[in-house]
């Protein structure tokens, strides 16, 4: 009953206090819930992207013990089965063509039997390039090797003889690696280079041309994905479980090439990065939200102590006090939830992709967290008072002045210990190559190297305590000797007041520095990610615009001249693309003009480890037979700078591979249009001379208006009858996901959430700390007014304090934000592709933040300070 009376009184008499406390809890609840929605959404998006990226979910290979019909029957009974196609593979000796230039013969290859409906059922496996869309279709590289086009006749050579086939079309196999995978081996254990020579034929033709050869039968299977769990880990486990069940059911009659499970497992690895972002950016935000809630409660902690003391002195038991505090906390938590969940929905709608739900689990967790936060912040100021045993203890505790002693963490040097620990942890992480998400061989599940998070995790509290220590030390040494004052000012007294209040100032400065640190680190991280995404897109496309010649085209570098005349084109750079064998490995080789290549594309020094782009291109220019190789190739083949390497390149005349000598001049990690794994960069002139072909694969074009220039180029090329494709960096197709698989929309959503919450939290920290200080000093301000102090003189006492707090908080925030951003960019290196040379600083955002915090602080000091010093009769009588 007493609790009910208390709560009713609180609601009636102090609704504003109640509301402010509830808003602080609501911020924490909304922050947790919306971060939870981000995690849920990013996982679900990864699952959707992973499933969409797989052209064929399963490749079920019939073993010698099984029969295609029996296996197909078992597959047909699988849950969520959507499609099934039989595919037959036969290894053949070679393919040959007979043209005007003589007979051309390839190495060994595959004849693949597919039904006419296969391309429609699994459109991701085949990309039609030339001729008919069904019938006998030649793989584009094979077509180039044989110089064969639709309508030409080729022969398939098998042990039983040569079988003629008429080419109906030319296709590309975008998922060639998985299409020709070795089924039955653990993912990654049986990787083999896909064949260069492939002929796809109808089942009847397949039977005719592969007589006498060993045939492998596969069933390509597609599932409906709607019923899969949204979490990629769980979805991968479900699919792998289904595969195991199937293999047990066919009792050795078939093996499953689980493309879907592999993709989902990889997506699960990517999801780890989302979790890491949540941990590294979300948890400090949650701590900050707790600080704000504690600050709000601290605003009235003195009065609450007096009120609880009065209750105790009037006979309330400890149980009564516990019920009252719990009741207050429950009321605040309920109000906080009522405000926080709609706020979370609003934040989700504004920051995250449309239709992102608020998962009920996260809503519950946020509500529970908010309730605990309300309980802790409400109970903490009165805990000792509530437990005091006798009246004198109650009175002593109620009258207790705020502690002036240095807090124990600073006395114990905890800040130094934490920062030293962070430095050690970071150094160890750096030595391991910033491997945070691990995929150990032989283990299906990815693992997070949580020890790598120790650096940022220790740095946050270490830096917060360091800001406290520095603020305390600097403010504690203020004498006012150097302050500008004039007649009627008392800088030495202002400084004396400041010294006495340094603990409160340090507390506010710590809150502000954490809030600003969070905003700064998130902004720098996001800005760096965006910058690298742009670099990634530019690398994928090659330049602002790229004109990609069709396979087999023999357009020379002179064609660039015509392209320069198209409106919007600044400069054009031809880029050769060849395939070259390094030992048995087929790698992409790019031929460039080193003197002009930098004009059209932004190369970064990070692409050439141990050197600079300018120096590397200069060496390439002066070494005609020089090549840049990937780290993997240099390592695997024990190659060093200056070593001679013989690469087998296809000649332009007979398309046969012949060895061409090169000299290794350095290492390269990224190159425009190059794949992410191994590739080679050399001099275009040397490649043209040694292969007898100066054919250009791509013209890279710099332009200030990529989209318009691309449109103009398309129209020009169409008019000229060219089949070249035009891509530009602004086209949706050019958008890429990060190396981690997190799309830029995911990170944009997360950064919007964190920046959206950290700004009001930063303002709340500085505002509430100052407001608390002003309220606490209200009597002193009224006294100053009564002693004849003008508004300006009173204001100086407040502005000195506000300035000390805001300057410390801002400097601390800059220090914290910069260091944490550096740690984040390094530790989450796997998210970036390519890794950034240095973090990008979003100056305009940071300046706006500084101005905003400064303006709000000044407004609070000016407005509330003036109001606080306005003395009514009751304030004057209280003096």
């Amino acid at each position: 009953m007493r609790t009910l009376h208390w709560l009713t009184g609180l609601t009636r008499r102090r609704p504003l206090e109640l509301l402010v406390a509830a808003v602080s809890i609501a911020l924490a609840i909304a922050f947790v819930a919306s971060l939870g929605a981000f995690l849920h959404q990013s996982r679900a998006a990864l699952t959707v992207r992973a499933t969409a990226s797989v052209p064929v979910d399963w490749q079920v290979q019939v073993t010698a013990q099984g029969s295609p019909a029996a296996v197909a029957g078992t597959v047909g009974r699988l849950r969520d089965l959507w499609a099934m196609e039989q595919v037959s593979y036969a290894h053949v000796s070679s393919f040959a063509s007979h043209g005007a230039g003589g007979t051309r013969q390839t190495g060994s290859g595959y004849v693949v039997g597919i039904s006419p409906s296969y391309a429609a059922t699994f459109p991701g496996e085949l990309r039609h390039l030339l001729g008919a869309t069904s019938g006998s279709m030649l793989f584009q590289q094979t077509a180039a090797n044989l110089a064969a086009a639709p309508g030409d006749r080729i022969s398939v050579r098998t042990p039983s003889g040569a079988h003629p086939v008429t080419v109906d079309g030319v296709v590309d196999l975008p998922a060639e690696d998985s299409f020709f995978q070795v089924v039955g081996l653990a993912p990654g254990a049986g990787a083999s280079a896909p064949p260069d020579n492939v002929l796809l034929v109808a089942p009847a033709v397949f039977a005719a041309v592969t007589r006498g050869t060993t045939v492998v039968h596969q069933l390509h299977v597609g599932f409906r994905h709607a019923t899969l769990p949204t979490d990629p880990h769980t979805a991968a486990l479900a699919i792998q479980g289904r595969a195991n069940h199937f293999q047990a059911a066919v009792a050795g009659g078939a093996l499953v090439g689980d493309n879907l499970g592999t993709a989902l497992t990889a997506a699960g690895e990517d999801a780890r990065y989302a979790e890491l972002l949540f941990l590294l950016l979300g948890l400090p935000g949650l701590a900050l939200a707790s600080v704000v809630a504690a600050l709000v409660v601290a605003l009235r902690s003195d009065r609450r102590r007096r009120e609880v003391a009065l209750l105790r002195l009037r006979g309330a038991s400890v149980a009564d006090i516990v019920r009252i505090v719990a009741g207050e906390a429950a009321l605040i938590a309920a109000l906080g939830t009522a405000l926080g969940l709609p706020l979370a929905l609003l934040a989700i709608r504004l920051a995250l992709p449309a239709s992102t739900p608020l998962p009920w689990g996260w809503a519950l967790a946020a509500t529970a967290g908010g309730t605990v936060l309300a309980l802790v912040t409400q109970a903490e100021p009165v805990a000792r008072l509530a437990c005091a045993r006798d009246e004198s203890s109650v009175a002593a505790e109620a009258a207790r002045a705020p502690r002036k002693r240095t807090p124990w963490p600073l006395r114990a040097g905890l800040d130094i210990i934490l920062l030293a620990g962070a430095a050690i942890a970071f150094t160890l992480t750096a030595r391991s190559g910033y491997q945070v998400v691990l995929a150990p061989e032989g283990i299906a599940q990815t693992q997070v190297n949580y020890a790598a998070l120790a650096g940022p995790a220790l740095a946050w509290p270490g830096l917060a305590l360091l800001v406290w220590r520095i603020t305390d030390a600097v403010v504690g040494r203020r004498t006012g000797r150097w302050s500008r004052g004039g007649p009627g000012t008392a800088p030495e007294l202002e400084a004396a007041a400041l010294r006495q209040r340094r603990r409160l100032i340090a507390r506010g400065a710590v809150g502000l520095s954490v809030a600003l640190g969070l905003a700064v680190s998130t902004a720098v991280f996001t800005s760096t990610y965006r910058a690298q995404s742009r670099v990634d897109v530019a690398l994928t496309v090659g330049s602002d615009v790229a004109v990609v010649e069709p396979p087999g085209a023999t357009v020379g570098p002179d064609a660039a001249r015509a392209l320069t005349r198209v409106p919007g084109v600044r400069s054009v750079e031809p880029l050769q693309h060849r395939f070259a064998y390094v030992g048995p490995d087929l790698q992409d080789l790019y031929g460039v003009q080193p003197s002009t290549f930098g004009n059209v594309t932004a190369l970064q020094d990070a692409f050439v480890p141990g050197s600079t782009v300018a120096r590397t291109l200069a060496v390439l220019r002066s070494t005609p037979d020089g090549v840049l190789l990937s780290a993997e190739t240099l390592h695997d083949y024990q190659l060093h700078r200056g070593d001679l390497i013989r690469l087998r390149l296809q000649t332009g005349r007979d398309h046969a591979y012949r060895a061409v000598p090169f000299h290794v001049i350095g290492q390269v990690t990224e190159w425009p249009t190059a794949p992410k794994d191994s590739f080679i960069v050399g001099n275009a002139d040397y490649v043209a001379r040694t292969t007898g072909s100066n054919a250009v694969s791509t013209f890279l074009i710099s332009s200030g208006t990529p989209a318009a220039t691309a449109a103009a180029l398309r129209s020009t090329l169409r008019a000229a009858g060219s089949a070249a494709q035009v891509r530009d960096i602004s086209s949706p197709g050019a958008a890429v996901t990060s190396a981690s698989g997190l799309a830029s929309t995911d990170l944009t959503g997360l950064s919007r959430l964190i920046l959206g919450f950290s700004v009001p939290l930063a303002l709340a920290c500085s505002g509430l700390a100052l407001l608390g200080g002003i309220i606490e000093r209200r009597r002193a301000l009224v006294l100053l007014a009564a002693l004849g102090a003008t508004a300006r003189q009173r204001g100086r006492f407040l502005t000195t304090e506000a300035r000390a707090m805001v300057v410390s908080g801002m400097l601390g925030g800059a220090l914290t934000g910069t260091l944490v951003a550096y740690l984040l960019v390094k530790v989450l290196n796997g998210i970036f592709d390519p890794p950034p040379a240095s973090p990008s600083i979003p100056w305009s955002y940071l300046m706006a933040l500084v101005v905003l915090v400064g303006t709000v602080t000044a407004s609070i000091v000016a407005g509330v300070g003036r109001l606080a010093a306005r003395a009514g009769p009751s304030e004057l009588r209280d003096l």
């Binding site: 009627g488 004849g788 004057l876």
Partner: protein, 222 residues
């Protein structure tokens, strides 16, 4: 004495003060001249504090007028010429006793050294020199009140308004402090208005007024 010294320090004419619907003072007329030492007596809640706050210019009257002919016409400067001692010890909690005592002087533009010397003299006058470096939280209620009185003394105000300043002191200490206050004001030729419950303390003053139910009457009530 020049002409300005002859003029009343404060003059209240038909002053009425109301807090909401409650009338605290009505029709009060009072003139305090330089050198006048006035004791105001009355029960708790009779309006003594309100009268002093009104005379200090800190509270605007609901009716009537309060003027300060012998003090500066400029509000800011006048505030510095009026010293106010409040009923409860009113010190800046983050300043030491000495710093609290120098505060009004420094706000008036007095130099650091001069303010410090005057404050030390004032603290010594009321036997609080040894409290100079203590923070208010380290002082008892009585000690705090003595520091507040020293602050009023150090200010060399032309008009000192003291609201039951010795309420927190024992009788002997109260008498010593009241005498020090009276003598310090007398030395400057200023006026002193002191509200008190204590008839013995009131005896030390030349004029006695009593506030009774919002009215001011000359002399002491029975």
């Amino acid at each position: 004495m020049n002409d300005s010294d002859e003029r009343p320090l404060v003059q209240a004419t038909s002053v009425g003060v109301s807090y909401g619907q409650t009338d605290i003072l009505h029709g009060v007329a009072l003139t305090v001249c330089p050198g006048a030492h006035v004791a105001v007596m009355g029960r708790s809640g009779s309006g003594k504090t309100t009268l002093l706050l009104t005379l200090a210019g800190l509270l605007a009257p609901s009716s009537g007028t309060v003027t300060w002919p012998g003090l500066s016409p400029d509000v800011r400067r006048r505030r510095g010429e009026i010293g106010m001692i409040f009923q409860a010890p009113s010190l800046m909690p983050e300043l030491t006793a000495l710093q609290n005592t120098t505060l009004p002087l420094r706000l008036r533009g007095v130099g650091v050294e001069e303010a410090r010397d005057s404050s030390l003299v004032a603290l010594a006058a009321i036997g609080a020199a040894d409290l100079a470096d203590a923070l208010p939280a380290q002082l008892s209620g009585g000690q705090q009140q003595r520091v507040a009185i020293a602050r009023a003394l150090a200010g060399r105000h032309r008009l000192v308004l003291a609201d039951e300043p010795t309420g927190a002191l024992d009788r002997a200490r109260a008498r010593q402090v009241a005498l020090a206050l009276r003598d310090a004001v007398a030395a400057t030729g200023g006026g002193l208005v002191l509200a008190t419950h204590d008839p013995a303390l009131a005896e030390m003053f030349d004029e006695h007024l009593t506030v009774l139910d919002g009215d001011l009457t000359l002399g002491r009530t029975a």
